[in-house]
């Protein structure tokens, strides 16, 4: 009991010191940061002084490195019923841990490289979809075996994949030349929104499952209100900048974040109709990644190119540096603990 109280005081003190809003409520999600903290001059073969790869910040104060030092770990996804079973998209392929990151196995072989994104079907446990630079790979057995399933996709480069949380086997992917939809577990695909260049992120609203958003390199952003069948360009977002990612606020259906290269951070409080500039306070407008924290309303994170990870507790009105000296965050991921 005494130990617990002491620990609690210590945590509160640390939180206070770093300026993090303290909440007695235990976060419902583990916060994972997929990050490259190597210097910008690092190249393949550079001996890395700092640990890159996956960090877990369970208490939002101390990120703990998990697994191997890997400068290109793009994202992670968990099996729906077991947050310790994680899949990681990485330069070395798809990696899996079944013990929360203590031990890992590269699940793919030589023929699948540089996985960009990964998604697990929450209605079909063990069904995993991985984006590759040359197509989409599917596993129906928790990653043990994989097959390519990208028939009908014109240019195979695949950047982003989301499985519809309401319907097993229904997927939307972002590719080099558009947004594609499959309603039969990736067996067949149809292009639902052509684009000139890469679709960098696709998201489904955590509130209305029919609402989807996508951001692109040169076509701006698109929104769908019918489950990803029909997409409409978001006129209020520029086509002149590469948009890197977006996020829905789990606590407020109207709030959406977007970031990009030269765009900085933009917040919408009306479901994407209008956007508020949230870059001031960040060191530069080249923003790699943004995310809402589902457990702390009003808190958002931003990865600014070759800068620390920044956090804001007032939806981007003010920012402060949080972790790492110089980082490129490939993804912020929140995984529900149970």
């Amino acid at each position: 009991m005494i130990a617990t109280i002491t620990k609690s005081i210590r945590v509160a003190a640390i939180l206070s010191m770093v300026g993090v809003m303290y909440s007695h409520a235990e976060p419902r999600h583990d916060f994972y940061v997929c990050v490259n903290v190597a210097s910008r001059g690092s190249v393949m073969g550079t001996k890395l002084a700092n640990l890159s790869g996956l960090y877990r910040a369970t208490d939002r104060t101390t990120p703990v490195h998990v697994g191997f030092n890997h400068i290109r770990l793009e994202t992670v996804a968990a099996e729906p019923m077991d947050p310790k079973q994680l899949y990681a998209s990485a330069l070395n392929g798809v990696l899996r841990t079944q013990d929360g990151g203590i031990s890992w196995r590269i699940m793919t072989g030589w023929e699948m490289t540089e996985s960009k994104d990964i998604a697990v079907d929450s209605n079909a446990p063990g069904h995993v979809y991985a984006c590759l630079p040359d197509g989409l790979a599917v596993s129906r057995d928790r990653g043990w075996t994989w097959k390519r399933s990208d028939e009908g996709i014109k240019r195979k480069y695949c950047q982003s994949v989301v499985v519809d949380r309401k319907q097993a086997g229904r997927l939307v992917i972002g590719t080099e030349k558009g947004i594609y939809l499959s309603e039969d577990a990736a067996n067949t695909w149809r292009c639902v929104q052509p684009t000139e260049a890469t679709v960098y992120d696709v998201r489904q609203s955590p509130h209305a499952a029919s609402v989807w958003f996508a951001v692109t390199q040169s076509d701006g952003a698109f929104r769908s209100s019918d489950g990803g069948r029909v997409w409409t360009r978001v006129a209020s977002l520029t086509k002149d900048r590469t948009l890197h990612n977006l996020d829905f606020d789990a606590n407020d259906a109207r709030k959406v974040l977007v970031c990009g290269w030269g765009l900085g951070v933009r917040l919408s409080e009306d479901g994407g109709e209008t956007w508020i500039e949230r870059t001031p306070g960040l060191p530069r407008s080249e923003v790699w990644r943004v995310a809402f924290d589902p457990d702390f309303p009003g808190r958002i994170y931003a990865s600014v190119y070759q800068s620390p990870v920044f956090v804001s507790d007032d939806l981007g009105k003010s920012w402060r540096a949080l972790w790492f000296e110089s980082a490129v965050v490939h993804d912020f991921v929140f995984i529900r603990r149970s």
Partner: protein, 618 residues
């Protein structure tokens, strides 16, 4: 986007070379040329050179400094079978902090095999543990994968029957071995059917030659052993036929800023020195050279390759088919074909690809190289390039976010990538065709392209450079007489490090190049007059177009965006370009077979039957 550290090391090796012990072949005057060296003495000369490398590297260990020495010094010491105790201590220490991905894997593989009967059990255990705890990057290109999978194959073979928990990959020894074997066979099959992706690289040749040497030396499976041996012969024969006095000439998938100008100054020349004895080695033996030397006793250079490399009594043209690196975006073709032509004489070489974006960042599309008595410090080359860079190019070959990549490259050992005075790299707005020693390059650069000019490299080591009223520029390098006819106006700018840059700020552009030997003409004036008389038609609108009849009597007609014509016949690259086609090397596309020939000697590398056949014609 992942470049790698090899290219960063030239300066480091040079500094190391200055501060270290003797490298006689690097520092001393070149011995008088003896060619061919008798086959009865060549093996001993080869072993002497191998020992020179190993002795130098081993001598970098300073007994009084416990921090001195690294993996390379351990490999050298083990290869020389010296001081196993120091090697064991050092290995145990170094394995505590592994790092360097596949560039760590192959040195450690080398040490593990050389140290099987020399290293202590503690050192061996340290190596074993590192392969469990440290996950190297597999990399993102062909040379990375060759190193990664060769190393993994050999280490899985060394430690059979182990569970996944004993490996960084989480896979069992048998799974690692199988996956590695599958990749290596896949790569060999691609290379022997449609060509290498990272073809004719002046530095990266080492990253193929060294892994293949290790397979040929240490693979237990006789099939893999002979495959390694055959691939090593294949790579070295490719280099031999594209070399002039050990200098890798013509078009390269990848070269670097230093070797672009000083053609000798790179790892390829280490192989020229070690295997052919026909050029000095670069500083520090090219850095990675020690890892070839450490296992070099397992390789005997076939005489036919040696003779292909060293015999320049007759001029010849070599046609080669290669392929691009994997294209992820901005292309409908995963591996587009590359069509190379290289013409080599005793005095000069001229080589090219067809232009376009065939490789990212470090492509070199054409050049003239002239022979020099001593290549050290000499910029014995002439070429032109469009100073192109773009996120479009980067996205084609890398899968990172687009906007940061062009700038990021400049921090990763490629400082000139986005500079206007850049000479290295391909351009989507360049088209090249060569017939024997005449070459036409055309540029049709769209309005709005960041740099809309052409850079021509005119070396500090040209002994003559004259701008003729006819529009031709006449140059002399060694015994090569070069005629260069720019298609558009230009001005001269100086180049840091010497020489002049032909700067031509016109979107419709190009050049006609004709090279000859001074031996062909009674005088310099006669050469110039002969060039002036050659039929030449130039048009720039609507697209650059040249019709030129060269010194050898062939009429070449090139129009930007169209297939070239020779004597009125349209060139069909797809039909006409074999994998190799020259008096020395013959291989059909899809054939998995290379025939090497020199006078009466013939060697056949047949991957269909895993057979090496040597024949001497009576």
């Amino acid at each position: 986007m992942h470049l790698h550290r090899l290219a960063l090391n030239s300066l480091a090796w040079a500094l190391l070379a200055v501060g270290a012990g003797a490298q006689p072949s690097f520092t001393e005057p070149i011995a008088p040329k003896v060619s061919p060296v008798s086959s009865s003495v060549r093996p001993a000369a080869y072993q002497k050179r191998v020992k020179e490398v190993l002795d130098w590297r081993a001598a970098l260990v300073k007994p009084e400094d416990p921090k001195s020495g690294g993996l390379a010094e351990v490999a050298a010491q083990l290869a020389l079978r010296r001081d196993a105790e120091w090697c064991s201590r050092k290995v145990t220490e170094l394995m505590k902090e592994p790092g360097g991905d596949m560039f760590w894997m192959f040195p450690v593989t080398c040490i593990a095999y050389l140290g099987r009967d020399q290293l202590s059990e503690e050192a061996k255990a340290a190596i074993r543990e590192a392969w469990r705890t440290y996950m190297p990057m597999r990399g993102d290109t062909e040379n990375h994968w060759a190193m990664y999978y060769t190393s993994l194959y050999l280490m899985a073979q060394l430690w059979p029957g182990e569970a996944g928990g004993r490996w960084f990959s989480g896979k069992t020894s048998e799974e690692n071995l199988r996956e590695s074997r599958e990749y290596l066979l896949h790569w060999m099959d691609l290379t022997t059917t449609v060509g290498q992706g990272e073809y004719d690289c002046t530095h990266y040749i080492g990253e193929y030659a060294i892994p293949m040497l290790y397979l040929s030396a240490w693979a237990d499976d006789p099939a893999m052993r002979i495959r390694g041996r055959m691939m090593l012969d294949w790579i070295l024969a490719d280099y031999a036929a594209d070399s002039l006095n050990g200098l890798y000439v013509g078009a390269h998938a990848r070269t670097n800023e230093a070797q672009l100008f000083e053609k000798w100054n790179g790892l390829s020349s280490f192989f020229g020195w070690l295997l052919f004895g026909n050029c000095p080695p670069p500083a520090g033996y090219g850095g990675w050279g020690v890892y070839f030397a450490a296992a070099a006793s397992h390789y005997e250079m076939p005489e036919v390759i040696y003779r292909i490399a060293t015999d320049r009594a007759s001029s010849y043209t070599e046609i080669e088919r290669k392929r691009t690196r994997h294209r992820w975006r901005n292309s409908d073709v995963r591996n587009a074909p590359v069509y190379k032509t290289t013409h080599i004489t005793a005095d000069y070489a001229i080589g090219s690809d067809q232009g376009g974006l065939l490789q990212p960042i470090q492509q070199h599309s054409w050049d003239v190289t002239w022979a020099v008595p001593d290549p050290r410090g000499v910029h014995n080359t002439l070429f032109s390039a469009h100073a192109y860079h773009s996120a479009f190019e980067m996205q084609m070959y890398f899968n990172d976010l687009p906007d940061y990549m062009p700038e990021a490259v400049t921090f990763q050992g490629k400082p000139t990538y986005n500079k206007e005075d850049r000479f290295l790299g391909g351009s989507p707005h360049e088209q090249i065709f060569q017939k024997e020693d005449a070459l036409i390059c055309l540029y049709d650069i769209p309005q709005g392209t960041r740099f809309g000019h052409v850079n021509g490299f005119f070396s500090k080591d040209l002994s003559r450079l004259e701008e003729d009223a006819s529009g031709w520029i006449f140059a002399e390098g060694g015994n090569a007489w070069i005629a260069y006819r720019p298609l558009s106006p230009y001005e001269w700018k100086s180049i840091k490090g010497g020489g002049r840059r032909l700067f031509s700020p016109h979107l419709k552009n190009g050049a006609v190049v004709q090279v000859a030997s001074r031996r062909e003409f009674p005088s310099w004036e006669a050469f110039k007059q002969r060039i002036r008389e050659l039929p030449l038609e130039i048009a720039l609108e609507p697209r650059p177009r040249v019709r030129f009849t060269g010194l050898r009597g062939k009429t070449i007609e090139c129009t930007y965006g169209e297939s070239p014509k020779v004597d009125g016949r349209t060139v069909d690259f797809e039909k006409e370009w074999k994998l190799f086609d020259s008096p020395y090397l013959q291989a059909e596309k899809g054939g998995r077979k290379l025939v090497l020939m020199h006078e009466r000697l013939e060697r056949v590398l047949d991957f269909n039957t895993l057979q090496i056949t040597d024949r001497v014609r009576e």
